[in-house]
């Protein structure tokens, strides 16, 4: 029959410098402590992390000589693990984590509105081409188009700034767009994104 050394003796030996005693303690209680953590967090990776943090605390406390032996090594370790589990849930409450699964991917619902690098390059090119085309328009039409598109002014504001009626401003805008399309068609320019 194999004689099992008591935890209290192993702890005493470990404090005295016997590293093998720690190995025995960890291996003896590994499954029980891990299963306890896993039953609460239900994630094997997090269980592993909390198990590791638990024993780092145990090692530090024992090496500092702050542990008082009362024959309750396992309950003491379980209490440390329990407190770390609470810390884990508190931390997660502040920063909720969402992990997708094979059935559902969060990125199919949430999308990044920004253009990717390639589309951004194309957009920049179109913007620069368009500004060259606008230069070809007659002065009065260009003025209205610039105010409407680039300065985001209303037709009322445009009419006040240019000293023409709203209808004239609208008409100039309409002709500016018609002429732009004509220039695009005439020169076979492709403006797409």
């Amino acid at each position: 029959m194999e004689l099992q050394i008591e935890d209290s003796i192993l702890v005493k030996n470990y404090i005295a410098g016997d590293e093998k005693a720690l190995e025995t303690l960890i291996n003896r209680h590994n499954q029980r402590i891990s299963s306890f953590i896993y039953s609460k967090v239900m994630d094997r990776d997090i269980t592993e992390d909390i198990f590791q943090d638990t024993f780092i605390k145990v090692i530090r406390t024992l090496k500092r000589g702050s542990y008082s032996e009362e024959g309750k090594f396992l309950p003491w370790v379980m209490r440390i693990a329990h407190n770390l589990i609470i810390d884990h849930f508190r931390k997660n409450k502040r920063m909720p984590k969402f992990e997708g699964s094979d059935d559902f991917n969060i990125f199919s619902v949430i999308k990044d509105d920004k253009l990717n690098a390639e589309k951004q390059l194309i957009k920049d090119q179109i913007d620069s081409d368009l500004s060259l085309l606008i230069e070809e328009l007659p002065e009065d039409q260009r003025e209205v188009l610039m105010m409407r598109i680039y300065k985001d002014m209303s037709f009322k504001e445009i009419s006040e700034n240019t000293g023409v009626s709203i209808n004239t401003a609208l008409g100039r805008m309409r002709y500016a767009l018609i002429n732009l399309r004509k220039i695009v068609d005439k020169n076979n320019i492709v403006l797409t994104n």
């Binding site: 590293e19 720690l22 190995e23 960890i26 291996n27 590994n30 499954q31 402590i33 891990s34 299963s35 953590i37 896993y38 039953s39 094997r44 269980t47 592993e48 198990f51 590791q52 024993f55 780092i56 090692i59 530090r60 090496k63 500092r64 000589g65």
Partner: protein, 47 residues
């Protein structure tokens, strides 16, 4: 077979820290020392 039983393993509540984690803890323990100077304690971890 591994594929078929993978879900079952997740449900199983028996868990055990991997030998790597245990190995890390033993290495940490060996590398860590507490120095006492007057009334102060200093922790040192040697790589």
């Amino acid at each position: 077979m591994e594929e078929i039983y993978s879900e079952e393993q997740k449900i199983c509540k028996i868990a055990k820290a991997t030998p790597e984690t245990v190995g890390f803890l033993l290495a940490f323990s060996k590398s860590m020392a507490v120095m006492k100077c007057r009334n102060l304690q200093f922790e040192t971890v040697l790589n």
